[in-house]
């Protein structure tokens, strides 16, 4: 039974908005906790795709009777993987000990996802690889005649890689209606704003459509909106979501500030970040 069944069509209130908000708040808190154990962390990129990843794992992806995920999630923007790890921890797929040993000797999780670890379906880190792999995975599932959907989260920066566009073309050529890609469109690559340094990157929705995809643009920090866009897709073509996001979302001094691509907060900054994350819940 696919989560994308029509009974959910248009039913925003199918999603428990308050529970979703609390869950995402908890994920941000947990990531900040990890940032105090080890500095090798991409916090802002993880906060940027936090609700996207939440929506896919917690609202959209199909689970079997035993609660095992049947669909596949690929973090093509490998540096955003901390939110994936934290969600996999919350689902019991990764162990808390894995998170404690993140980027440490004896641990198995690094700053980019590694194929073979529980819940990790592709090694990424070098940008522009994930969508090609996802295309092959989706095609294989079509050949096997399964209902498995392949979900792939991309950064907007990695859309500067030609390989991403090769994959966009092939997925459309092969009519991979079982492939859903989400671009975490925070408008930042590593160095600068996409709209400043790479203005021809836009318009993105029209590019996706011209490449043969069905495209929706949503607020990338609204888990319910992301889920709803996926539930409402026609399922006749590969589906692309342009998710408008804020890099570093949730912590004012991180938002839109490139150094937080890779920096971890010091003790004082950590305290402030927690206060901001908790907001009125504090």
């Amino acid at each position: 039974m696919s989560s994308a069944d029509t009974s959910k069509k248009g039913l925003t209130n199918f999603v428990d908005i308050e529970a979703t908000r609390k869950r995402c708040q908890g994920y941000r808190r947990r990531i900040l906790e990890v940032s105090q154990q080890v500095t090798a962390l991409h916090i802002a990129p993880a906060f940027s795709c936090l609700e996207i990843t939440d929506a896919l794992y917690n609202l959209v992806m199909t689970k079997d009777g035993a609660g095992e995920l049947e669909d596949v999630f690929l973090m093509s923007k490998g540096h955003g993987c901390m939110i994936q790890y934290i969600i996999l921890e919350s689902l019991g797929i990764l162990e808390t000990r894995d998170i404690e040993l993140y980027c440490k000797p004896g641990g198995r999780l690094g700053a980019h996802p590694d194929f073979g670890n529980p819940g990790i379906h592709a090694s990424t880190g070098s940008l522009g690889h994930g969508l090609g792999i996802a295309t092959g995975q989706a095609y294989a599932e079509k050949l096997k005649g399964t209902d498995t959907i392949i979900y792939c989260v991309l950064s907007d920066g990695e859309c500067q890689e030609g390989s991403t566009w090769e994959a966009l073309l092939m997925a459309a050529n092969l009519n991979l209606s079982n492939l859903v890609a989400v671009i975490d469109n925070n408008d930042f690559s590593g160095l600068e704003r996409m709209s400043d340094g790479h203005p021809a990157f836009y318009p993105l929705v029209e590019k996706g459509e011209a490449f043969g995809w069905e495209v929706a643009e949503v607020d990338g920090h609204d888990s319910a909106a992301i889920a709803e866009a996926i539930w409402n897709r026609s399922k006749k073509k590969p589906f692309l979501i342009v998710a408008k996001t804020v890099k570093g979302k949730g912590v004012s001094y991180m938002e839109h500030v490139p150094i937080w691509h890779y920096r971890s907060p010091n003790a004082e900054e950590y305290k402030q970040a927690l206060i901001e994350i908790e907001g009125d819940d504090a």
Partner: protein, 306 residues
């Protein structure tokens, strides 16, 4: 070799519906065309897009398929090199990358089409396996092995078409990972692989005429290199010669030299390779090899036998 590969692949594809072939705008030879019409879903042409060719193969292998990527050697390996490294080798997936026209096979097409350093760059990546058969029969055996293997990524380096038979009288059968004695001899031993093994036979004939019994080995599996057999050859023969259609850095010559040093070999060792140069020269395959110093005449001269 192309046709033998295609026939072997087609026959296996009849029985194993995991087998698929992903090509990048190359016209499918012989039975691959038949495979395409009989199993259209398991044949994909990505067009002139080698990165997605390799990326798709990785994803398909992860979901249980057994894909082969197939195009001209330079484009199979050089263009999507990071996909070969990260998607196939780092993830250690059972995908075979078939490179047609290894070395300077495409002798009239210029340097952009010469896969002179393909073996060297494939050799450098952990988890990679490299197989370069020398004739159609070895191509059939190697393809059959690639079809059933679960070891990881393979670079299968083929020539083009019309290669003669070199192994029907071989002393030993084809076995993955084993340097294969295809001609007996006791004084000199020539190690080679791929269609250039023709030069090994020409040199061997001249050596035999000069009274030196010459063995020939097809070192079809270049990675992992058969250290045991090569060590044995280096200790049993007074003179060992390597002839390969690859640049001098990173191919069989380097491998044999490394083993010779580490094993304290005492034999004479002479290596003949492509030059470490892009040469701007057009002609037949033989003429290109000659321009790189790989005519049997030049090899014999270097050996002071010409």
């Amino acid at each position: 070799m192309r046709n033998t590969f295609a026939d072997t692949f087609y026959d296996a594809g009849l029985k194993d519906d995991r087998l698929s072939i992903i090509v990048a705008d190359i016209s499918p030879a012989g039975s691959i065309e038949k495979f395409r019409s009989d199993f259209p879903d398991r044949f994909v042409n990505t067009g002139v897009s080698e990165q997605i060719m390799i990326g798709m193969c990785a994803g398909m292998a992860q979901r249980g398929m057994r894909p082969f990527a197939y195009t001209i050697a330079t484009f199979a390996l050089f263009r999507p090199y990071e996909m070969i490294r990260d998607d196939l080798c780092y993830q250690n997936l059972p995908v075979t990358v078939v490179g047609i026209g290894g070395g300077v096979t495409y002798s009239t097409l210029g340097g952009t089409h010469h896969a002179m350093e393909d073996v060297a760059i494939a050799n450098a990546i952990p988890n990679m396996t490299i197989i370069a058969p020398c004739d159609p029969a070895e191509t059939a055996a190697a393809t059959q092995w690639c079809i059933t293997q679960e070891r990881g990524p393979v670079y299968l380096r083929l020539g083009k078409a019309g290669e003669p038979d070199f192994t029907s009288l071989a002393v030993e059968p084809w076995e993955f990972g084993k340097a294969r004695k295809i001609k007996q001899g006791s004084d000199v031993c020539i190690l080679s692989y791929g269609p250039i093994i023709k030069k090994a036979f020409e040199v061997s004939d001249a050596l035999e005429e000069a009274g030196r019994s010459t063995a020939i080995y097809s070192v079809h599996t270049l990675k992992p290199l058969d250290r045991e057999t090569i060590t044995k050859v280096l200790s049993e023969f007074q003179h060992v010669i390597v002839i390969e259609e690859c640049v001098p850095i990173g191919g069989l010559s380097d491998g044999v030299k490394r083993i010779a040093w580490e094993e304290r070999a005492n034999c004479q060792l002479d290596c003949f390779t492509l030059k470490d140069e892009f040469i701007h020269c057009y002609g037949t395959h033989d003429e290109l090899l000659a321009a790189h110093g790989l005519s049997s005449q030049n090899i014999l001269q270097q050996l002071k036998l010409g």
